[in-house]
Symmetry: C2
Subunit: 539 residues, 2 copies
């Protein structure tokens, strides 16, 4: 984007000096036009493939391929540099505009119960596991270099590579999980790990890059852990706080009456981004923050909206995140095809693939062992879930973005080697693992598994999860009789005792206008009868 | 945006060399955070003011003021340059991302009948009138300079200033028109003129800037007119073409069954942007193109969507355009407070305000005279409408963006003077005209005027327009009996004969799946009964 200095629409008069702006503007038009066409193509192709139940080429892989092919064609033909500029992968664009909607939608469409009941395991995998994986990869790559098996990187550079390549991608595997339907606990583990380990990988990468520049003699291992926990807890609190504020705002502002659907939606849509930028502005992790804002807003703020706004914002976030997800893969594919790669170190690529497989195994099986030690017999993670988790570690946009950054950070050619290897790993894992996840899930017999509430073969798992699973949004359980309520309450207290009780007795009544359980008089200024009349002005 | 080289979330380790990226990233976070907070504030303030029927500070003026105040505070306190970078008004951001949704929504929410029945008048005002206004302003400013009344600009620079300052802004005045309710023909005139004259002003500005750089000895007056018409007709055809293609796609793709609401909405949302970028890529005017795409998509493609998608996309475009509109004014206010201004030429500002008032009078009254010559007695534009039109010419973001560009185009300080004058004119007209439009409309007695179908005092005029006015979307008139149909048809043929007949008999049956008039068998693959079941998966 920085290449475009002056762009404005209107006539391009093919002039000499003033024609420069006209040309730039036309280039921007052509660039964005191509991107839109690829987006449309991806959506249509993805739809057709899904229609025909062809799971070997999931939507993400299809988008990546489209990007690669169009990028390759643009590389062969002599496309103007001003058009190319629109296709360079900009890390800031990725982190500030593409990533937030994807992560928010993850949190917003999440079934909170399996996520929180597996929270300990998820944190173990995400923090401990990612640390193990980074270290194992880094050490193995260093040893490989020492033994002349592969390109020799200095030790700290090896650890940086280990950190960035340990960020797994949630998009592709989860979309297959959703389509095939799998165990909710496995889904929660894979999902939770892949979202949280991005934050861990970034923080490890940054710390290593700091160690490399020798600016941190005081940063020992202990400090590193403290700093990570600080960031994590801080970001989580910021996210949860913003979520609660939004819930109170929508409870008391009375926007769900009076045809104010547009205002209501505008404000609702701005909160997640606010949370992300608040965390970033405080030097915390925006990803973690927006994830928790998503969870809290869905659970509390969402039910304070008018019915039409509820329908609208769900569809809105779904739309925005699908666009962002698809775009990320196209964008990545195109950039991979356009960038300079140093293919001289093919051995480095081969061995690093081998090493990340080993490192992921070390991560998953050791952490699962630890988690199983702490869990009671009926809640242990079965071996087939561990295998599925091991298999699901494909690398995506996060690793790619960090590798691009490493080119700037490591100027002596090391960055270039890391970038090429990461690129190859991303393409291979997305195409191979993405294409074979369906087969793997079937082979491990975790498809439609009824371990803790199974899912049919449907298109939209997160919504179904909520319905099939015992979690019911506070608004909707007003109908259930009081006898049932008592049983449900007892059961819930038994299940995930403390949090559920806190939620039911204090948080839900306080943050939502319709608690549907104890005191229906504890109501916001909004009579429920006025809901659902916000949409009629559109249409 | 170009100041930010590497941004990524995660921990900011306060380090020396690697801390640079951390700081940039934090600055981006703080910058965007401030922008979101101002957006929220504008929405809330606008809502409160509207609630209390306080029309002296419309939402746009409030946003501009918020931007000015926060910008002023940021200027006094020593805000970091890296944060400031996020608030500089980038012309490319405005033209590529903020303007398209605003213009599309204008077309999408437009009542086509008053627009097309006044099309001749609108084109006369937009093309002839803007040309007259530019020339009058330019010549007066040049004469003023010759007579030492004001800063002396060369003649071509005067004409450039005349061109850019003739772009009137549709946002503020129209929002007041909508809230107070006014004559549909007056609304159509003001709206149509302000949208189309943007395209004219840009093209005039670019031609003048070309004449200045002496690159166009062959560009005489005749060529200029031909080139403008070429651009206009080309852009209109591109826009209408994209609209028709989208209508056919949604008619035959069968996406309105089968819970494919997300896919349907994704594709629908991409088409307008496609149209804008197509026109830009061809060197045409994106504004004109996306405006006509909006009109065509609403009229034909929209009724081919499933009911839930119809509701969703209406709300979506409304949301996006409100966000963009509000943001434009905040952004402009902030930038005005932050930029360097050369206040030494205060006389220039004073006289140019005087001259644009004269030029606008010359534009409106002469064009209205011409239009009235051609119109039959009962359709003449009454004097009070002419006065209202004269009064409504406030200058907004388009003039501002072109003035910013003139700083690059005219480096000898002339650009700076033009920019300062434009800034002052924008702030004054938005605050003064915006605040007094309500009073003016009441004084001229055009509020709730029942000249050709009046509107009550409602919040959302475009939707009401459609309902109160005879235009009924093709989908909804299936219920009317055949006797009524015949009468309606006769009446319509009489009214705006040729286009309506063409629309009714050929375009609507061909491009929509539900024509509701002649042959109900001429139906797309979509049974109407399947509609309206797309939303239940959200919620």
């Amino acid at each position: 984007m920085e290449e475009l200095i002056q762009i404005s629409p209107g006539i391009d008069p093919h002039g000499a000096s003033s024609g420069q702006t006209g040309k730039e503007q036309q280039a921007a038009g052509v660039g964005i036009l191509l991107q839109i066409m690829m987006l449309v193509l991806s959506f249509v192709l993805g739809h057709v493939l899904r229609r025909h139940k062809f799971y070997y080429l999931p939507e993400a892989s299809a988008s990546l391929l489209i990007g690669l092919i169009v990028g390759g064609l643009a590389n062969i033909s002599n496309t103007e540099t001003s058009i190319r500029a629109w296709f360079n992968f900009h890390e800031e664009f990725f982190f500030l505009f593409l990533l937030p909607p994807i992560i928010f939608q993850s949190g917003f469409s999440l079934a909170p119960k399996p996520f929180f009941s597996n929270f300990g395991a998820i944190v173990t995998f995400a923090i401990g596991g990612t640390f193990i994986a980074s270290m194992v990869t880094g050490v193995l790559v260093y040893l490989g270099g020492l033994m002349f098996l592969m390109y020799k990187l200095p030790f700290v550079e090896c650890l940086m590579f280990g950190a960035l390549i340990s960020a797994t991608d949630p998009v592709t595997v989860l979309s297959i999980f959703q389509e095939l339907g799998t165990d909710v606990n496995l889904y929660a583990l894979v999902f939770g790990e892949s979202v949280l380990n991005d934050a861990m990988a970034i923080s490890l990468y940054r710390t290593m890059s700091l160690v490399r520049s020798n600016a941190s003699s005081e940063h020992n291992f202990f400090m590193l852990v403290v700093r990570f926990l600080e960031t994590f807890v801080g970001s989580m609190s910021a996210g949860v706080g913003v979520g609660f504020i939004s819930a109170l705002l929508f409870k008391y502002a009375g926007l769900d009456i009076d045809n104010l659907q547009n205002l209501e939606s505008c404000l609702f849509v701005l909160f997640p981004y606010f949370s992300y930028m608040l965390a970033e502005g405080l030097g915390l992790s925006g990803i973690v923050s927006i994830l928790f804002t998503g969870i809290v807003m869905k659970h509390y703020a969402f039910s304070n909206l008018s019915e039409s706004s509820q329908r609208f914002v769900s569809a809105f976030f779904h739309l925005i995140s699908s666009l962002a997800e698809t775009f990320v893969f196209i964008y990545m594919g195109f950039d991979i095809a356009m960038e300079q790669h140093s293919w001289s170190h093919i051995g480095f690529i081969f061995f690093s693939i081998l090493f990340i497989i080993i490192a992921r195994a070390a991560n998953v099986f050791s952490c699962a062992y630890l988690v199983n030690l702490a869990r009671p017999a009926h809640r242990k993670i079965p071996l087939k879930h561990q295998k599925a988790l091991w298999y699901s570690g494909l690398r995506g946009a996060m690793a790619f973005a960090l590798a691009l950054q490493s080119i700037h950070d490591l100027p002596e050619g090391h960055g270039q080697t890391i970038f090429t290897a990461t690129t190859a790993i991303v393409v291979l894992t997305v195409l191979l693992i993405g294409g074979s996840t369906g087969t793997m899930l079937e082979a491990l017999q975790v498809v439609g598994d009824s371990h803790d509430g199974s899912l049919g073969e449907t298109y939209s798992l997160p919504e179904n999860l909520e319905r099939n699973h015992t979690y019911i949004a506070p608004t909707y359980d007003v109908e259930s009789s009081s006898g049932n309520k008592f049983k449900m309450k007892l059961k819930e207290l038994h299940n995930t005792a403390s949090f559920s009780a806190l939620d039911k007795n204090y948080l839900t009544p306080f943050f939502t206008s319709n608690n549907g359980d104890v005191d229906d008089d504890f109501d916001g200024p909004t009579p429920p009868s006025s809901r659902g009349n916000g949409f009629h002005r559109y249409g």
